[in-house]
Symmetry: D2
Subunit: 481 residues, 4 copies
């Protein structure tokens, strides 16, 4: 298992082509905008070497028997599923933001069972390829970007109906040694901090969409791949401001779009190529695992925000007011409600044919559906407790300024037991999570990551077994069919 | 293990003193108002003999190794806790109402660990008495009423401060062979369908309240105990109407107040007598188990109501309307959110010193807190889908009447594929669960059973580990304490 | 203007054919199930003679210049619309339930402008007939049932597509002196306490539905009309119990279905016959006025329930607990939010071509949409504050019983400053409004009366002027179309 | 009345001392961070000259009879109060953000009635001073900052209990010609775009807080006053990015803190000095007017955001999906619910002793309480409809870049009928309002402006007339006191 330092070193060796605000970055992992997101991923390596967190952060490879980072592990039982959620909550607590490494873990687990079933039913060779690849990932302790979301163009149309046929990533050509693909993947959270990219289709497909049913893995610095960095709220503070005004200056998330500009993929890295019947299964399993993930990571971030609200209440001198206590209680209640669903869908997991455990799909969708609601309310309550100052405070430069500094120190002090500076720091952290850099991950990503709310509702409707419920009601009402 | 029939026989042998609407009942279990609640309890016996449900409904006694009804079992591991919740959901689905036997199970489990710890720390003899009692209960497969809630009088005052000292049940006298107690217990759901009553204190106590720190067991038909039956919405329909208008004519819940009019309890049935320091522990464990219970039973009842809404949508001809499907999806979402918390607090359970497993207290309180909200919204949505007819329909007598019957059949028909009668039956079931007999259990009991909402909020506040969260936030904001 | 007594007398003179639980009633207004609803209507007469309420309860007829009961008045300006809402709140406060007379007022106002526009555009004669009728109503101070809702059968089909052509009330035959109609109207709240019935179509219609586009007025005791009384939650308590257990023993609502069994209507009472193009307008105006109404009457009932919760908090000894105060504040907040919409849609009312003022349709639909939500939450909070006793209390007979009475008095006492009996009365009132008789009006009728929630959503979508909003956004974003 | 141009000219003449990110600004109204907020205020001048908006934007001075900008007007009747709300909605629609001029209007109206009553009861001379001042304001068509919120320090302490006595602005010294004051005012929205500042106390006061009971007016560029500019989410984009990435590039809000560093105020500009008994009245009237304001301005901003969501749905190709239509309907419903309360509290306004109309306090607090909730939900729904791209899109520089530009244009296109650039602009506007610059005004200011949520709850509790409601309930339950 790599250490945090080794991970940072490994990133420097990658030759990634990446653009940010119109410029190509030479050494992206040191760029002030990118660096905090690298730190978040590095935490997944560091904590794996912390003896106290070993149980959550590491696992025993079912292939090699070696101790591995849990992020590269296939879930062997319900306990693995539960520990995944707890590991994610821990990392959310440590970083207060997105640590980006879950998509790869979720992609590996989804591919395992799906390729296994494809081979069994279609006489393909994908699962053995996948197993080789998995060994490589575990041995090298790699970060993987699980790339699913296509641009999609006009959402009222299927892939093959789009005016531009590249709106979903597709196979341009099958060659002897491999395939050539073209397209893009959007909203790629951990992409440029990853060693590898695993591409998967983005939705269920029919025969007409065959060319779009493709899955494969490539090194993230493949020559025909390039990245364009996405903006986030308040991103410029990382370039132009000091720590305080960033709020969470050490950790951050990130989002990029990846362009696959006619890229060659060798067959040994191809895990699906035309088996459109299996696209839906791969998508729903990946999405299911990822919806479970949110019952861990967002809960951990929620813990930070609840803590921040409790601290600022103390700094404001109102921590004993009954309405403040009640709001904190409500925040905890909502946050733990998310956690309950994360745990429940894990505890109700079942083995797939390959032996890898899959979460309970209904409950994982319940989990994610709540994630599209509760963080917003938790953040709203944090803003309520913080007070207006979180959006009206002067900058750190003004605090340091020879004339204005002393007035800010004097007038922005809350309860006299605490310093103005600490109060401002905590206000900025709340701003960071409710409006700023981490709000992107804590709120909008909670909404759309792993599928938008309506995607979960469709799954809940399908998985809810409404016919059984109808029978229950008829029996009690005394109705014979 | 008793069969359903044997249970009904055993009830007839009890010589219970019970009053209902100003009359003393001779054979309560056959009284039309009481009968449906007896049927609900009987279902807990019947299903234990159903091979398909054996895994959930039965367990192996950790004392005798015999197969026993799970309702008399002490939870030996997390799996037992999870199966408890699933058993409760199953029974909620079968009865659509409260089946009343959980309080006894929860009382047994709470008493086991609390008496164990009392004996260990105070050199008392309660746990061995309790174990003898437990054997008796398991061998005879008994229904037990777990009686906790005292009248409480003026809620702004502690037990010893009340104007009337009997507002909390108390020890009047300690005698050689036992104790004499006086008081009452309210809201006793399964009381008159039980063989035994276990009394417990209702809140944390200090030394001044010592006489109120008392727990014991007695046969339900003890001579100095009597019962007064509580009214429920639409209770008279069971006396004056036919099946259809009752909605759920077979199953029901019930509520009684029990009066202990200076009752003698032999020492071998006394499990606490003055150890006020343990009152809080016993209360919070019983409440915790019971808050978990609601993540099962109310979910099962919710399944019935969701099913009823789906059926009525079909009868109304609107089952494909997008807003109807969306409302059903929301109902399932809320219902499964409750279930998630029931499962999660079980899955996160831990052993107590006696070996009996206790649920995770934080998550059990989260569970119950949601139960005070979501069934109300599920019922509101069911009313939305049903349409106004559920509260404006004529009676069954009018349907049977020679003049009006044909007009009702003609005009109250919905979609022509279904009969008017079936439509009316389903409307009445929805009325039953949202306003009528079962609304008492599905809504108001969801609010107040196992403690009112504020009781959970206090526990959530205490268990939420706010100090740890504050540390997390400070670390990220760069604040040194 | 009639007095309350004169109204009661006038009811006795009506020869109405009415069935209740399979029996034909001789003197319905004295029947214990019906009587409370008569009392509610009578209050609309009594208060009109109260000098303090004169300003709200009466108006000056724009036809005759006479002082009339406001319930028979056509709104001449915004102030009339506002006073209507205030009058309704007042009556809701006095009765705590539905007082039934609004539908007639809303029908008169909707017919006035619609018949005026029909005459102007189609050269018909409806408006002059209507004006004669209105004079008759005002002069005799009549209660009118505004009958709109047809049975509708299969809701996925239009009127002419139904298997049974009578599922919407229709014209069977046009004769020289008038028309013959057949059908039924459901959910007729005030029907049997009315002197007259005004029938209106229930939805927008196209040419194929022409025979269903019919509106007319008839005396409520017409020979070919008969009524079947609808059941309500806890209705039997009015027959078998004493005052206390009824909760609100004096006032009540009611619901009936009316059957028009081939009824003849003379032309002078026909206000629409085949003009399908005007069905939508008549429906939406009536519905709009009635959606406004709910911003008054339900607010008044809410005042009673909030008051009941505040009283019971006092009786329980918890009126100073911060969470109780906060819940009462939330109840007031929600209730006044409803009122705001009732006032706003009135204040933004505009004159129609006939001069009669129409409410602002968008805001009236906003009003009603909130009414489908907030009373449920207000009732939930009332149940929270009341405590479980509201659904577990023994009956009044038990309180009066020689053995049980003294124990009930002793143990069901709350704060010692108040009597057990008063506490029980207030608990029963809360039960009445949240589960019992008045819950039908306060909750389910709030949901479905004046159109189900989806009906308002369709109107909000249509009236929301989304195109204008899109222009606003484009202008700010700098997008040229 | 000034034109927009004249207003801009007048700003340039002010010699304001202002600091922003550690620097003193020479010409603040042209600074890229400040300019958009100036544009918003300028809109209040421009629209007053638009004949179509004349009725809303202008009024007739009750002092001079001249036509004046409504922002300088005292409300003479309910119609004035209603037009105020409509004017604010209009400006919200035009700017999509805070236009800052309301606080001054609300301060003038609150001071008028309060000084009138002080003079009448205390024989002071404040009202005549105020009237002279008002004439000056109306004649010169000035923007006024109404400065209320003090730093407050430890919120658990009263003004005179603070460790630092300056935490509330106070009178240091009374001189012959006037007074000397020291302190600061926070969250001053329009401060540096104003010609004048009116200072008011921030809370109810007792005799011990006498020195803090002070109100006065000064030119905004007084020598002893200086300003420190507050940061807002994404503020740096205004300095470092082009129009597109700003979202709303033309209009903006702003927040500053004002320091009064021992400032002299001549008596003719002092409107309260020690009359602590009137502090509460002045505060609650100002707050009441300002809570009303939010029922206009935030509704206008909401219109823009709803429009933006509708446009982006079209660009994404999903405008016909039923769940999208339903979400837009819900957004409109919530937004109009706010408007209803704004209108209702105006329509129910009453004259004060001075003749100036005051809003209905209960309903104004209802209005604001909803404003602390609904904009958050509207913004959440906008994020739902927009999709994740709003927080993952590359920058405008990347769109313009020679390599990346064509890929962005290709892959970020939605429905082929619309350009990628327009889609990106609209996404940025939604980001602006939900996370970025205008989110500060649309969300956090909605929470805390005009008082935090708890402040409204206290007022609702006080104004809710709970005793009357208790009487209503007792009467119906048959309880004699």
């Amino acid at each position: 298992m790599k250490t945090g330092e080794e991970y940072l070193e490994s990133l420097k060796k990658l030759d990634i082509e990446i653009y940010l605000r119109g410029e190509s970055l030479e050494n992206p992992s040191n760029h002030p905008v990118v660096k905090p997101s690298v730190n978040s991923v590095a935490e997944t390596y560091k904590l794996a070497h912390d003896p106290e967190q070993e149980d959550l952060m590491t696992a025993t490879s079912h292939i090699t028997g070696n101790k591995i980072n849990r992020f590269t592990h296939l879930h062997q039982n319900q306990d693995d599923l539960i520990k995944k959620v707890k590991m994610q909550r821990l990392l959310g607590q440590k970083t207060g933001t997105c640590f980006q490494r879950c998509v790869g873990m979720d992609a590996l687990n989804a591919l395992d069972s799906t390729t296994y079933e494809m081979d069994r039913n279609l006489d393909t060779d994908y699962h053995s390829r996948f197993e080789n690849y998995l060994k490589y990932v575990q041995e090298n302790d790699l970060v993987i970007d699980g790339a699913m979301t296509d641009p999609k163009g006009d959402r009222s149309k299927r892939p093959h109906q789009q005016q531009d046929p590249d709106m979903y990533l597709r196979v341009l050509e099958e060659k002897k040694g491999g395939i050539v693909v073209r397209g893009a993947k959007l909203h790629q959270t951990g992409a440029i901090n990853s060693h590898e990219v695993i591409v998967m289709p983005t939705c269920a497909m029919k025969e007409e969409d065959k060319e779009y049913a493709v899955s494969f893995a490539l090194p993230s610095d493949n020559e025909e791949i390039f990245y364009i960095y996405g903006r986030q709220s308040c991103d410029l503070r990382k370039m132009h401001d000091e720590k305080m005004d960033i709020g969470n200056f050490k950790y951050g998330g990130q989002e990029t779009m990846i362009v696959f500009d006619d890229v060659f993929v060798p067959w040994e890295r191809v895990f699906m190529c035309g088996e459109y019947q299996y696209a839906a299964k791969l998508v729903s399993r990946f999405a299911g695992y990822h919806r479970q993930s949110y019952g861990g990571c967002k809960v951990g971030a929620g813990d930070v925000l609840i803590g921040a609200a409790a601290v600022i209440a103390e700094y404001n001198g109102v921590e004993k007011a009954s309405h403040i206590r009640d709001k904190l209680t409500e925040m905890i209640h909502l946050n733990e409600s998310l956690y309950c669903a994360g745990i429940a869908c894990s505890c109700e997991g079942k083995p797939t044919a390959s032996g890898t455990y899959l979460i309970n799909q209904l409950l994982a969708n319940i989990c994610k559906q709540n994630v599209t609601r509760f963080p917003y309310e938790i953040a709203r309550l944090a803003e309520d407790i913080a007070g207006g100052l979180m959006v009206t405070m002067p900058s750190k430069q003004d605090l340091d300024h020879e004339k204005t500094g002393k007035y800010i120190k004097k007038y922005l002090r809350g309860c006299a037991d605490f310093s103005t500076e600490d109060r401002m720091k905590m206000m900025r952290l709340i701003e960071n999570m409710s409006l700023g850099l981490s709000a992107v991950g804590y709120k909008t990503e909670s909404m759309h990551g792993a599928g938008s709310p309506q995607a979960q509702r469709i799954m809940i409707q399908r998985q809810g077994n409404i016919e059984h419920k109808k029978e229950l009601a008829k029996r009690i009402a005394g109705i014979e069919n």
